[in-house]
Symmetry: D2
Amino acid sequence: MFTYSRKAQYHETDKMGIIHHSNYIKWLEEARIAYMEHLGYGFDKVEQLGIVSPVAGISISYKTPVLFNETVDIQITLTRYSGVIQEVSYNIVKQGTGELCATAVSKHCYLKDGKVVNLKHEIPELDRLFASELVK
Amino acid sequence: MFTYSRKAQYHETDKMGIIHHSNYIKWLEEARIAYMEHLGYGFDKVEQLGIVSPVAGISISYKTPVLFNETVDIQITLTRYSGVIQEVSYNIVKQGTGELCATAVSKHCYLKDGKVVNLKHEIPELDRLFASELVK
Amino acid sequence: MFTYSRKAQYHETDKMGIIHHSNYIKWLEEARIAYMEHLGYGFDKVEQLGIVSPVAGISISYKTPVLFNETVDIQITLTRYSGVIQEVSYNIVKQGTGELCATAVSKHCYLKDGKVVNLKHEIPELDRLFASELVK
Amino acid sequence: MFTYSRKAQYHETDKMGIIHHSNYIKWLEEARIAYMEHLGYGFDKVEQLGIVSPVAGISISYKTPVLFNETVDIQITLTRYSGVIQEVSYNIVKQGTGELCATAVSKHCYLKDGKVVNLKHEIPELDRLFASELVK
């Protein structure tokens, strides 16, 4: 598990006085990208190879609202990985109180020239990193 | 079923050259709000009663990317409603081609002073509108 | 002058209960793009020629807050154009009341392969359209 | 001068492959809020007193695009302050190269119950902090 910390910004609030729910989707992406950097293979390196990784699906459950200026820990785990399909799970937890704010799962694939590729063949180095994460 | 049409904006694109996936979440909200206006009970009226409606969960599946300047039809249906819990389903379809871009489901409740309320008692007029939609 | 109308969305509000000021910058872009489409030369056609148009500067003055669900008219005028430099001016006005919400000016240039180009030579058709707008 | 550092996020890019210009406006706000926290009087404390601080105007000049995953330093200085009107100036500089990406100025006032207030009377502690910053 890797943890990405993030302060909730004023521009992310809405008129209910809480962080607008669409921003959590951006936070998940930030956490994924920080996670890959932490693993030692940044997402910018993936794109430099002409490979993109669109999001195939997201499922998120909102538990407790996050407020302006609060810091959350986004705990991220690779829960499924086959070289072709990748599933990432998240807990968003309030720093300090440990309160659970949201849980989420996202699914991803990797594309080259518009076609799904297998990371085993396309980026063996990244494939090994992901595979070893799954074991943990 | 109600349809909300929306042009994909330049500021919604990302470096993959497609609409960033977080924006779809905003589009779903826009569609819900337009839908309530279409039903004859705008969301601003709900909030004027001191009632807010946070999103409890969203599940979205991305099928085909939407590109800058394309117009999508967001087809919205009320698929579950009990007065307390509400589930809304969406198909995002490309105008012209009819191509399916995404499907989604969102869950909602209604809160007054931080407590879940039943629309049957709190806003009978809106409750009847939602209930009649469910029958269709 | 061309007018682009836009409904203020819930996801654009902030905890002050008004539209967050950063969203106006997005609205200006939407208005510019709608304006070019109205002139008969869409911005997507510009990009298809390998030409991009980054924003060189924006100056905006906020007068009256825009609230959720209000519709604004963004009145857009080309106030300077030389083929190389372009200046666009905006009034954001509340529909119904006519109240002035903001005034803004933006500056733009056109780039091909990272170098500034003159639309007179690169896209004569668009150059003529812009030049004729300036006369009005 | 206070410096706020910020990594440019994937969801902030646009189809030109650069950070969309509207995001800089959000970064300025983040820098202002971090700056007040650094001064020892957080913006949340201001709002707890029933005082809000809408943006009256922004002027920004874009010099060099910021790219995904680059980190910028936002150097922020209080350049004018009277208790009633406040002007803040910014340089956005690329970390590592020191390249200037943008310069900006924003203007602010403070409102209570919809009326402009003088911080000298409303929040003397914050007034002294701002006044002492101006001297530097």
